[in-house]
Symmetry: C2
Subunit: 397 residues, 2 copies
């Protein structure tokens, strides 16, 4: 199969030509093809590598945390491609060990049974907790915040497959963290600091044991003070650590704050995610303090009760409705472009290259290069999606 | 007069040669001089422009705010050169209008009677308040924090000479600030934001009316939050605004916080000052919460009563004793070099070039160039002072 475009974004800049795809892999970019071959022509449209969302609990018609079933994860796969996400890490929250185990066991089935016709690829899992600090729990459940435990991790790894646990978010100030972080490093699990009351010194102390970066910078962590730099200070200070920004709406982190970090860290060290949860699928009444709305489960529907007294009932499985409950990956990207005037090169780094590197998959994801997976987005000048390919399979948008 | 060095720092980099000085001005840097001329030889030592301290209330044996007399300012001049400061703005605090008027009137006498044999040049005055916000008063006096008033300013200007008021620190959220800032701009008075509860939006709103930067960044202002960026957020966000750091001890602002700002703003937009007050000359009991020590006036002495119960009595006019009560300008510079590995070029920008530009005196100060004042420091590799010249006059160190 060939895709033709004048603007194929590669690590060496834009190239014009025929992108050759075989068995789901990128083979080459050719200046011309023989007369008997045909190409899908995208002409002046731009081809970039697909977005990789390493922090996503649920999306639209499926939720890994709220439902936690194989079919929920399959629904996420199916819908995520519509917002440009071609691979992702279903992300568990801080919950009972039984619940997380169930999610991982179901997620594992989805992962094992996945194929490109199903949508975005399931790359493995991100454990957000349960080894986090209740002081900065945010929307996580306080009663399940616990100290790091190798045994508990080993059990999760047994269920999900160790090779499938790609990332864990933890609070490095908790007892036993340092040893645990080393254990993660030995097992090739990336470690992000999040939901943490750590001081700057705690981060410095654990940094070289295997900390790679920070989960949703600014949220769920000790803020910056000039005499107590805290987690945010460490994130800004250490050039080699990555920072994740979840859902760049401007609601959780002001565009100016994002801009300051962008100037400091550059596109090289920022990872964009959604941290979406699949709000339609809440399993109990759930108040979202930023949206100022209560989500109430109601059979196959969800009831939205806003602080202003208005209410709305939506079918959980009506994609056109539920997609509006949270900002999509591409919606967030468009905000970033608007707010900081980011180039395509910078966007590709923050949405594909960096997350692939962060979870150790840059050998097969994160850029348009020979031998890599043909996870591709075709976009217009306004970053609207024209087509999406997952391992060479054209997706239904 | 000629000074010879292999390392004369100019805006075009280091030059080797004979620095020719006539009538207090730099004339040229010559590769050689005639046989009948002699030069002071500094050989491998470095020549840089003198430090300009635009925020200093007092130093060692004199205090503009605590004593406020002509002789106090003269004492500051005399002692400041010993720490590399060749010109300065005596800085008033937030006090009664009578008291500030008295200080300005005495300061004006010192300024008018100044000559290079007296020490560091008095460039004019910095008014730190009284138009500041009591919510962020820091060590300023709450009862004298008032809203901006052109009449009050005009009266100060009448006493000090309008052309001598170079800088004012104010809180732009106070009623009437916007008009007042425009008035300052019309009168060529630089405006710094300080002791301010302003929100980011307040700064944005007034910025183009004539705000140039921020007084002692981080101290006396609303801190940074990712949803309420505040004064600190504006300082970090707006590339064109300067930030002043007072006394880089690491006590008031952690080296890591300074480093983050240095990465963001660069040496181009940072100004180093001391904000020293001449603590030996307190006019009433004064508790210094960072030093954890009470300063008690006692005739020609000052008594220091530390929180740990120890006490010490020092003569107010014993330079060797009182110089240790606060960190000197060159002491602060040495800390900066140690903490952020700053180059000579960067130090010169932050200590001389930027302050000169900030208060509109770069045509005669701030660099070693023909026609500028011969305000010079000769330093060794460890930034120890060998010699100091003010307008070509060699100072007694």
């Amino acid at each position: 199969m060939y895709l033709y475009s004048e603007n194929i974004y590669t690590p060496n800049g834009f190239q014009k030509g025929y992108l050759k795809i075989e068995e789901g892999k990128i083979v080459d970019i050719l200046p011309s093809i023989s007369e008997e071959d045909t190409a899908i022509r995208y002409d002046d449209k731009v081809i970039i590598p697909g977005f990789i969302d390493i922090h996503i609990h649920g999306w639209a018609t499926g939720s890994f945390t709220f439902q936690g079933t194989e079919s929920a994860v399959n629904n996420m796969s199916k819908e995520l491609v519509k917002s440009g996400v071609t691979s992702f890490l279903p992300t568990s929250g801080t919950d009972s060990l039984d619940r997380i185990s169930f999610q991982l066991s179901e997620g594992k089935k989805a992962l094992d049974n996945w194929n490109p016709k199903k949508g975005a690829e399931i790359l493995g899992f991100h454990l957000e907790g349960p080894f986090i600090n209740k002081e900065y729990k945010g929307m996580q459940k306080e009663q399940y915040c616990i100290n790091p435990s190798k045994d508990i991790f080993d059990n999760f790894a047994k269920i999900a497959g160790l090779e499938n646990i790609k990332l864990i978010t933890l609070a490095p100030e908790l007892e036993g963290s340092k040893e645990f972080i080393k254990y993660m490093k030995d097992n090739n699990v990336q470690v992000s600091v999040g939901h943490s009351a750590a001081d700057f010194e705690d981060i410095s102390d654990c940094k070289d044991c295997g900390i790679g970066g920070f989960t949703h910078l600014f949220s769920g962590m000790r803020g910056f003070h000039h005499r107590r730099p805290g987690v945010v200070g460490a994130a800004l200070y250490y050039d080699d650590l990555y920072v994740e920004f979840a859902k760049q709406t401007g609601l959780t982190v002001r565009p100016e704050a994002f801009d300051i970090v962008f100037k400091l860290k550059g596109s090289e060290k920022i990872i964009l995610t959604t941290d979406c949860s699949g709000l339609a699928h809440v399993d109990q009444e759930f108040y979202h303090y930023i949206r100022q709305c209560k989500f109430i489960p109601d059979g196959d529907n969800v009831k939205l009760l806003f602080d202003d007294g208005t209410e709305e009932i939506i079918s959980k499985y009506d994609y056109e409705k539920v997609k509006n409950l949270e900002l999509s990956y591409i919606g967030s990207v468009k905000n970033v472009i608007k707010n900081i005037d980011a180039s395509i090169s910078e966007i590709v780094k923050m949405t594909s290259e960096n997350p692939a590197k962060y979870i150790g998959l840059y050998d097969r994801k994160g850029s348009i290069e020979p031998s890599k997976d043909a996870d591709l987005l075709i976009i217009d000048d306004d970053f609207n999606l024209i087509d999406v390919f997952v391992k060479g399979e054209k997706q239904i948008l």
